[in-house]
Amino acid sequence: MVTAGIDIGHESVTVAILDDNGILGHATFVISGEVGAASTLAFERTLDRLGLARASVHRIFATGMGRETVALADAHRTPMLSHARGAHWWFPGARTVIDVGAEGSRVMRCDAKGYLTDFALNDKCAAGSGVFLETVADMLDVPLADMGGLALSGSRRVVLTSTCAVFAESEIVAEIHRGSSRADILWGVHESLVSKIAAMSRRVGIEPDLVLTGGVARNVGVVQALREQLQMDVAVPEHPEIAGALGAALLARASAGAA
């Protein structure tokens, strides 16, 4: 049986297509224009690339913040359910899943079957979100993809004390004036971001295995800072950015099986 998951984020749509043998394919598209139309287009393009007919997809589940705008979906599921399920597919031992997104982050606890048991969510404060990294990338003129690696090459000298991303920007400016290197500042930025995520994780309670999902999981600085602050190994899936879409496709398959 072929199912699809469509994950609508703030800036992009990710589509994952699943059959009984695993992931058939996935693709991510930047949203331009209206969200509902963008998700249809993304879905059709993904099918085209795979040479699949629309009729061969049995069930489509949408997830992500824009999940309710996906007209072609049969149902939608919360990002928490989807990420837990997606992470569990790659790592059956996963009991805690952290997803760091551009405009928020989530910590999910799940059981041995990948069912969500508890979660915490921050979509109120940029300080614990990926957008903080984007802002700093801009400020320091570092490509987003290189930030983590550069941070790891920095010393552990710069400590940002601000809770707020806006105030942290001023602290960063002060560090630049003080002559701190970009690498040093970047390590401080990563530690600061991760400290908020770690605090939220501790509130939910962390049990191994810990899996990091979302595009930010590709940032080696975030992974390292998380390892240190939680004193636990952090598993990163092969395609962390498709965890939500994959989870939705898995949930679609499970619901079809039950029907």
């Binding site: 940029a126 991303a165 105030f167």
Partner: protein, 267 residues
């Protein structure tokens, strides 16, 4: 007797010079990256307008977040105590103070002597501080000084901003601007958001009249009016609300020098 109060804030450094209890000079300068240099600059700026020299100052008290780095101060006192003291000097009936600066917001309760009895402070989150409006003013390319006045000229089509976080609200503001929502309507929503945050802080300490507003935000009529509306009260604002903390510090300096009964009090 010549005493000086210096208030080194996140955005500006302020100095007040008292001669025999009278304010003879005050100044406001940008803090910049070096707090100590800003303190010296504020001091010199205020001296310029008088015949006084640095050597004439008998005692200096520093306050504000940069208070520990002021090189020429003999003592430092928290800004909470100084704002209560300074506002009490202008308004002896004051019992509740809202002091909002560039990087924090304080709700302070004091007694009839100007001594702090309770306070709450937000210095963790830019929402509900002057910084939120600074960020938005530059985003919308509106001079900060005009922001409050423009916000009161809003049409009744209320723009809605749902995010509290300044970083997230920026995207919302840009989206509204792109949709063609008039800038003054967006400013109205922003001022309302700041006032709402402030209301929460004030309610938590309890509001008793007289109610006084100080700090840079008191120059923003858009926020002041909305705070008054939300609390159902009116506020009093002194002639130069940005230097109230420095004035309080100068008053403490006078106490230290005279060994008077008004010793450092409060938190």
């Amino acid at each position: 007797m010549v005493v000086c109060g210096i208030d080194v804030g996140a955005r500006t450094a302020k100095a007040v010079m008292l001669v025999d209890g009278d304010i003879v000079a005050h100044s406001i300068v940008r803090t910049g990256p070096e707090s100590a240099a800003a303190a010296v600059a504020a001091l010199d700026r205020s001296l310029e307008t008088t015949a006084l020299r640095r050597e004439d100052i008998e005692f200096t008290v520093a306050t504000g977040y940069g208070r520990v780095v002021v090189p020429f101060a003999q003592r430092n006192v928290t800004e909470i105590a100084c704002h209560a003291r300074g506002n009490h000097h202008f308004f002896p009936g004051v019992r509740t103070i809202l002091d909002m600066g560039g990087q924090d917001c304080k709700a302070i309760r004091c007694d009839e002597t100007g001594k702090v009895t309770n306070f709450l402070m937000n210095d963790k989150c830019a929402a509900g501080t002057g910084r939120a409006l600074e960020v938005m003013a530059s985003l919308l390319q509106v001079p900060l000084d005009d922001l409050g006045r423009l916000s009161l000229e809003a049409s009744n089509g209320l723009a809605k901003i749902s995010n509290t976080c300044v970083v997230f609200a920026k995207s919302e503001v840009l989206a509204l601007a792109r949709q063609g929502v008039p800038t003054r309507d967006i400013l109205a929503a922003l001022c309302d958001g700041v006032a709402e945050r402030v209301k929460g802080l004030l309610r938590a300490v309890g509001v008793e009249e007289d109610f006084v507003i100080s700090g840079g935000i008191s120059k923003n009529v858009g926020v002041v009016r909305r705070v008054e509306q939300k609390l159902g009260t009116t506020s009093q604002i002194c002639f130069e609300p940005q230097v109230v903390g420095a004035l309080g510090a100068a008053l403490f300096a006078r106490d230290f020098l005279t060994g008077g009964t008004r010793r450092r009090t409060g938190p």
